[in-house]
Symmetry: C2
Subunit: 99 residues, 2 copies
C-alpha cells in the first residue's frame, strides 16, 4: 500500500470551498482505499488529507482522472500553502476498505 | 466527527513491534470510523496514525477499553517521541465506514 498525509492551507475564508472541491474530485478513484478530508481544529484555514492507496501507481493514475484534474485546477487558486507531512506505507487498521 | 493525526517515533529497531501493538489494540473500538497505521517512508523509526471517530467522546471512551489500555502500556517503552500533528474534524471522504 501507499499513502500520504498532507496539510493544505486555504486562502482566507476559502476552506469550505476547498474542502468541497477535494471531496467532489475524490468520489471515484480506482485503487483508493482511504481518502479522509478533515478540518484542523486549531487552524481555521487548514485542511488535512490522509490517503491510502493499494499502490503508488494507483495514486499516480488518479491524478490523470478528469474529475481529479478538474478539482485540482479549481482548487489551485484557493490554496495558500501545502505541507506534505509524510509519504507513507499504510500497514493496517480500520477504514481501508475503499468505501 | 472527531479525528487526530499523529507521528509516533519508535525506539530504534522497535517500529514493527510498536505497529503490531497499535493494530492489535485497535481491532474493536466502538465509534471508530477510521484508524490507519502507516510507516513513514523516509524516517525508519516513525509511524503515523490517522484516526476518525464518530465523536470525541467515543475516542475518549476507547482509551478506557482493556485492549487499548493494555496495548498502550506495552507500547510506552517502545515510544521515543510523539508529535500530535493535529486535532481534527473529519468532514468526508473514502474509508469512514468503520470497517
Amino acid at each position: 500500500m501507499y499513502g500520504m498525509i498532507g496539510k493544505i492551507t486555504a486562502t482566507p475564508g476559502q476552506r469550505d470551498a476547498l474542502a468541497r472541491l477535494l471531496l467532489s474530485g475524490s468520489a471515484d478513484m480506482p485503487g483508493c482505499l482511504s481518502y479522509v478530508v478533515s478540518e484542523d481544529l486549531k487552524d481555521p484555514d487548514a485542511l488535512w488529507v490522509a490517503e491510502a492507496w493499494d499502490s503508488k501507481d494507483s495514486h499516480a493514475a488518479s491524478l490523470k482522472l478528469p474529475a481529479v484534474r478538474d478539482a485540482i485546477a479549481k482548487a489551485r487558486p484557493l490554496i495558500a500553502g501545502f505541507d506534505a507531512a509524510a509519504e507513507l506505507k499504510p500497514i493496517g487498521g480500520i477504514g481501508l476498505g475503499g468505501k
